[in-house]
Symmetry: none
Subunit: 126 residues, 4 copies
């Protein structure tokens, strides 16, 4: 369900939080959708339940998720479902920055970057 890179340097809990945040922003995780239980998610990604718990806590404090005592967490209703394009592009910013910084330091130009992006996108389901 989520893609975690344990050795990327980015803490697992941050990777997971970011992905859930984005899928809530896009509506891919619609409001009121139930999230997997802590144990389920932990098992599926072979990570510790406390790590998942930390993510759920974080996202609840941000208002992205809602806590339901004794029942699964759900995606919060209000401002998080299907954000407008502009809002979703904000979430993209840091990754654009990283890519562009990398591109410049590798002395690539805009077209080379775009070509690389398009070609990677085509093969994204490999």
């Amino acid at each position: 369900m989520f893609i975690l890179k344990p050795h990327s340097g980015v803490p697992i809990y941050r990777q997971l939080a970011e992905q859930i945040r984005r899928m809530a922003a896009s509506g891919q995780l619609a409001p009121a959708t139930e999230l997997p239980s802590i144990r389920e998610l932990a098992l599926k990604h072979a990570i510790n339940p406390m790590t998942v718990s930390k993510v759920y806590n974080l996202l609840e404090s941000e208002g992205v998720l809602e806590r339901n005592r004794g029942k699964p967490m759900t995606v919060a209703a209000r401002p998080h479902s299907q954000s407008p394009l502009s809002k979703r592009l904000d979430e993209l910013e840091p990754h654009l920055e990283n890519l562009i910084l990398a591109g410049r330091q590798l002395e690539l130009d805009a077209d080379e970057l775009v070509d690389a992006l398009r070609s990677k996108w085509e093969n994204k389901d490999d």
Copy 2:
């Protein structure tokens, strides 16, 4: 000189190492170029000298940099200067992956992603 994001979750030493590696790969840091001293680099980016030292050690062990007793470290000569395009694109991979994953979870399509990239690129010197 380098762009460090202390709160990104990625350790500073990794950010710094990656940037030097890329600038060496592109030839932007040409072979034999002298690097700033540990103290200088640490001061300029308000980071700890030990962090810089760790980066220099790492890059020396990778063969990217060369140590010169009593003199500044330099960019190593051989296989790291001006890598062919294909080699440099390899360095881009993880960032492409991150961007595409983000894009998909935000329900953007390839064109929207490319547009965002081009527009960010235009303003990259803001």
Copy 3:
């Protein structure tokens, strides 16, 4: 330094967070004061470092404490030092409510409650 009641039903991390919050509000913990390290506080109260870490995280996210990489956490500067009386009384609210609810259910009147409070206060250093 702090008073923790492990069997009160209130989670330790909440008790600790509340006490630090109050001492920052009163100026008893002045701005820029260094807090004990996680390990030190954990040892002194015989609790787990992770529990203390959770408290420090919580208070940082509230803006009560500040993080200093590699150095002790400090009390944040701005609006937390020496709150005006009215602000500090807010922090008292839940405890007043609890006491009054208890008093009413025990069929005590205001004077009996005040007497009990004054007499407990006198002996507070027992």
Copy 4:
């Protein structure tokens, strides 16, 4: 009938048990008074019947309540009705301690605490 604070950190079953205990101690719930059924109480406070059931069991084991097969639970007769003042003040202890600890950490003196208590008491029916 009872006042429950779900987010106070104190388990609901503890809050409920404490309140019934106090109202029995004061005679506000006189001996032989019938308590609401589990379902009724659960519905009124929007809590789970199992939580109420647990409280009733607990208080029965303490001798505060009595079970009557097929009929509502009742307040037990003996030592729990109209405790002498001194006994009831004992029940107050932990709340006095909490209030005084809070007061001291907020750098309030006895008079400020008493004033706050009296003023909150006046408005207790808001």
